[in-house]
Every structure is written in structure tokens, then in C-alpha cells.
């Protein structure tokens, strides 16, 4: 018996009033696969992410994580099941230091829960994991800097670090390289690749170099519908995609 897909979207619909923002989306992401979700602005990509992570509820259809329906669960319940997401606009804890930001993200998966009977300084495993995470996203020198004081690119790195902190095996990244220059984006892409090795990845991205570099498969979302889903070459060659979206680029 084959294992269920890591992430499956089944006939997913989202309506805001009369407007259909996401319309019968079916996508299957196998464990270990890296899928890029592309589409013009307003296609519904961020809404789709919110439906998956529990920040919005689908009007109909379901989201399945490792074969289990997670529709209707709260974001924190979904996070505990091993799904982590980043946000398009950096979503940090501005008045906490880089170190504290990252430490918050590792606590739940280490089983410390809501405890106030132990001091953080005594949690060696949490400290070790936080140090490793900080090293991995290249923020060790900024450990004591408040997140609010970081320059933009480092805020994006911290955003990625918090997302990876829980050790989730399904990772959703919402435009991780948005607003970066070429060299920053290339550096960051390499960072994402190494940091998400072996994990299932779903990524929204506009930069086609980043997509080509990271993705095994591409899903194209236009006006709330998936018009193509498959290997990059096949998707590029798809006339519907060329007409709707890539025409000018390819």
C-alpha cells in the first residue's frame, strides 16, 4: 500500500460573498516533493495558503495532511501536526531578540508546552536547537538584536528560521525571496534548499529563477483555478499556461 500524500487539497472552494476566490482546487503533494505555486497577482495563492494552514476556512472541500483531514482545525492544531508556514509579509515578534524569536518556535515540538515551572535557561535541548537554527539561517551575529531592528533581508531569514523551528516535515513558504535583490535571492534559495532537504515543500514564488532552482513540480493558479500541474517543462509547454500567464515570459 502506498502511503497517503503528504498534502492533498480535495475539491477546495473558498467564497467571499459572491466572489469565488479558490475554485475546485485539487492538488496532491507527495512526501518529499517540492511544488511551486505560481500565478498572477490576485490569483488566490495566499488565500490557498491560509486555507491549508487554518488561517481561513474552506467553503467546501477538504485539506488532508498525511491522509488526515485538517479542515476546520485551528492554526495551532495544524502546526502541531507537522505543518509549518511562513508569511509573505514578515510576521515576527518585533520586541523579542532574534534568539528569543527562534527559541519560541522550537518550544512546542520539544514538548515544553505551556510550562512555567521550568526556566528557559535550563532547557539545554531548546538552547542547542535554537543555536543550530540561528547558525543555519545565518543570524548568529544578530542573536541579541531585536527583530524590529533587523534589516529587511535578515527579517526574511528570521521568518524562514521561525518556520523551520518546529521541525515540521511539510513546509509552506509564501514568497520567501520577495523584495530581495538578485544575489540575496540566490543566496536565500540555496539556504532554503539545504534547510528543507528531505521535507515536503509548497512554495509561492514570482521569481522564476527561484522556482526553477527549487521546484520539482509547478502548479499554476489563475483566477482561483489550477490550470496546470506537473513537471516544469510540461507546464511551460502547456498552451493554456502560455496564454494565461507565462506567454510574455517564455
Amino acid at each position: 500500500m502506498t502511503p497517503p500524500p503528504a498534502l492533498a487539497l480535495v475539491a477546495l472552494h473558498k467564497r467571499f460573498g459572491a466572489t469565488e476566490v479558490v475554485c475546485s482546487v485539487d492538488v496532491c503533494v507527495q512526501a518529499g516533493e517540492r511544488v511551486a505555486l505560481i500565478g498572477p497577482n490576485g490569483a488566490g495563492k495566499s488565500t490557498l495558503f491560509n486555507l491549508i494552514s487554518g488561517h481561513a476556512r474552506p467553503s467546501s472541500g477538504s485539506v488532508q495532511l498525511h491522509g488526515r483531514s485538517i479542515s476546520g482545525l485551528q492554526p495551532f492544531e495544524i502546526a502541531r501536526l507537522g505543518l509549518a508556514r511562513s508569511f509573505q509579509i514578515s510576521n515576527l515578534f518585533p520586541q523579542l531578540s532574534v534568539y528569543e524569536n527562534l527559541r519560541c518556535s522550537v518550544l512546542w515540538s520539544l514538548g515544553y508546552g505551556y510550562t512555567f515551572a521550568r526556566l528557559l535557561g535550563s532547557l539545554r535541548e531548546a538552547s542547542a536547537r535554537t543555536d543550530a537554527l540561528m547558525e543555519r539561517v545565518g543570524l548568529t551575529a544578530q542573536a541579541q538584536t531585536l527583530a524590529a531592528h533587523l534589516p529587511y533581508a535578515q527579517q526574511r531569514a528570521l521568518e524562514l528560521g521561525i518556520t523551520l523551528g518546529s521541525g515540521a516535515d511539510v513546509v509552506l513558504l509564501d514568497e520567501p525571496t520577495a523584495g530581495m535583490n538578485r544575489s540575496e535571492a540566490a543566496h536565500f534559495t540555496a539556504l532554503i534548499r539545504s534547510a528543507t532537504a528531505g521535507k515536503t515543500l509548497l512554495l509561492v514564488e514570482h521569481d522564476m529563477d527561484v522556482v526553477a532552482d527549487l521546484a520539482d513540480k509547478i502548479a499554476v493558479l489563475v483566477q482561483g483555478r489550477i490550470i496546470a500541474f506537473g513537471a516544469p517543462q510540461a507546464v511551460r509547454a502547456d498552451p493554456a499556461v502560455q496564454a494565461a500567464y507565462l506567454g510574455a515570459v517564455v
Binding site: S53, H55, Q74, P75, F76, A79, R80, A84, R85, F87, N91, L92, F93, P94, Q95, L96, S97, Y99, E100, N101, R103, C104, S105, L107, W108, S109, Y112, G113, Y114, T115, F116, A117, R118, L119, L120, G121, S122, L123, S127, A143, Q144, T145, L146, H149, I162, G165, S166
Partner: protein, 427 residues
Amino acid sequence: MHRLFGWRDWIVWPSCAVLLVLAPLLFSGSFALALLSQMGIAIVACLSFNLLFGQGGMLSFGHAVYAGLGGFVAMHALNMFSAGGGWLPVSLVPLCGGLGGLAFALVFAYPSTRRAGSSFAMITLGLGELVYALTTLLPGFFGGEAGIAGNRVNGRVVGGLSFGPAIELYYLLALYTLVCALLMYLFTRTPLGQLLQAVRDNPQRVASIGYDPQRVRYLAMLLAGFFAGVSGGMAALHFEIVNAEAVGSARSAAYLVFTVLGGTASFAGPVLGGVLMVLCTVLLSAWTKAWLLYLGLGFVLVVVYAPGGLAGVLAQQLRLVRDGRLLAILPWYGALAGCGAVAMWGVALAVEMLYHQQLHAASGSAFTFLGLALDTATPGSWLTALGLLLAGGLPGLWVYPRCAARYAQAHAAAGLGAQPAAARGVW
């Protein structure tokens, strides 16, 4: 950052303990001792308020509910045991108050913490009014207008302590103050304490790392309710009476105002706030009828010009001292303080004359204030007030922007724009 207790803590906490032990020797006399005891009570209350506000971003307009109800529970416990209905050392009465505060928080915190921001504030306001209304509806528990009185000297002497002499009570309350403050400080260094600050900053992100922000807020409010209740129990022992005022909105507002005056961004802020609360409500109020007006004025000035409160101002000066830049600005500070004092003197004269006119007109129009003979019936006194206001205010308007510019310059030169997290507090 990995240490359990930093070197600053090893200096600060023992110093606080020594200070608490020595304070009655420095300020002897029963009045001073009563002031010191009340400061301890206020410090615990303000710290528990700031656990919600400064650390959790929850602005409570009803914090007195937990302190006051804790006080009533403590007083009932004291009376029940005095009447011979069991055995409880008087020294544990504040703990009963804490459990009382916790018990009410278990119920009230649930509706409050489901929402953050202004909804939270509105709900706490509503609950505060509700509980205050109950004080007249349930005279059995609240004792009606008179409140509930008790006697801490109930004939039971435990370990040689009767708590009859004020000094024995002072050391008991000082011990409670120190232990509660230390526990609340350590709480900020636990996973829940850290998550509470994260919830303040960004509840949505907290949810995406596996924590339920509502649950974090709820648990924090239970703790705040407990410590507020302890302070209520301490107050019950000190005053030997608790009345409806203890749960009223004026008391809730006082916790808010003095915590903000002390500073909400650092742990030491509410401690300063608690000290200030006693100085203002006991000393300033005895000195002038217009004390609430001065307090309001001071509060507005702090919110506008020093949002970090007293602790924030002190912390900034300490950083300039460390950087060797304070000396250059000191003359400007002096000039500003001088102008401010003269202008404030003028304002105070006018305020006192207005109050005198309204409240003491029967005793004649002449009185003395700060050694100055004033007469509300003569224009000379009013002109003096106006003259002082202008004499201080006009040069002050010239000094202030220059002083501020020099301060900003020194601040920037010291590279304090991007502060490391370790330097956030006073310590």
C-alpha cells in the same frame, strides 16, 4: 542569555533584599513603616498588572477586581480562623488572598482573554463594573458600605510572632513583596512567560508555531489574578479592613496610571510605580487637595514625552552614563529642570488659589502655600502666578528643543538606535 540567572540578577535581587531589611532602620517611626508596608502592597499589585499589560499586551481596566476580591477572601479567612473555625497562621492570610484572586480569575479570565486589544479592555471594564455593583447586592460577602473589618492580632502566636507590632507585619509584607516580585521575574524566563511576550507582539504567529494564543493569555491572567490577590491579602492584613473601594474602577485606574508612570517596558518600572503610588496617594494627597490634578498632568506628560515611564527615562540616562555622554547634556537638563520648576510653581499657585476659592472661601481669601502668602482677592497673587509661569515657560520653550536635540545627538552617537535586547530594561 543561556544562564539561569545573570550577573545583574545576582547583584540586584540581594540588594533589594538588603534594602527591604534595612529600610525600617533608615525610616523609623510608625508612619514611615506604614508607608513602606503600603509600598510593598502596591509593588506586588503593579507588577501583577504589568504581567498582563507590559508583558502580555492586555490593557486591563478591572485589575482591582482580583486584588479586591482577594482582599475580601483573605479577610473572611482571617475572621473565620480568628473565630476559632480552624487553624491558620496569620502569615498565610495573603496566600488565601492569592488563592481567592486565582479562583475568581479562573472564571472571569475566560471571557476576558478570548479576545485581545480593545475587546479585552472593554470586557475587563464591564467585569469591573459588574463586581463593583455586586458589592451592594451581596452585603454578606462584601460587608456593604462599611466593608469587612478584621483583627490580625487574634491571640495565636506562631513562632513568637503575633503581628501586633507594626515591625513584625512590615517584615512579613516585605517577605511577600520580595518573593512575589522574584517569582514574577522568574516567570518572564519560563516558556510560558516568553510565549506571553510573543503573544503580545504577534498572536497570529504564535498560533502558527503550535501555541493557542487564547490559552497563553488565559494562563497569564490566572497568574496575574493570583499575585493581585496576594497584594489584596497583604492589604487586608495591613489595614485590617476591606471595602468596596478595593474592587472599584478608581483603584483599577490607579494600578494602570502608576504602572505606566513607573514604566511598562521593564521589570523595574512597576516597582517604581508602586512606590510612586504610595507617595502620591498618601503624601501628596495629604499635602494638597489638588493632587489628582497634578497626577493627571504628570501622567499626560509621561505618556507624551516619556512613554517608557520613569524606568525608561532612568535606563536611557544610565546608558548615556555608561557611554560617558551624560555630562555634556547635564547643564541642559539643569536648565530645563529649572525652567520647568519655575513654570510649575506658577501653575501650582494658580491651581491652589482656584482650589482655595472653591473649597475654603469661608475661611477668607488669604492663605499661604509653600511659604508664599497668597490672597485670591487681590490681583497681585494672580499676577505672581502668571509671572512665574511666563518666567519659567518662555525660556523653557527655548531650552526644550535644544536640550532634546542634544539628547538625540548623544543617543545616536552612542549607537543606541538599535539596542540589543539585553539592554531593554533598567537591569
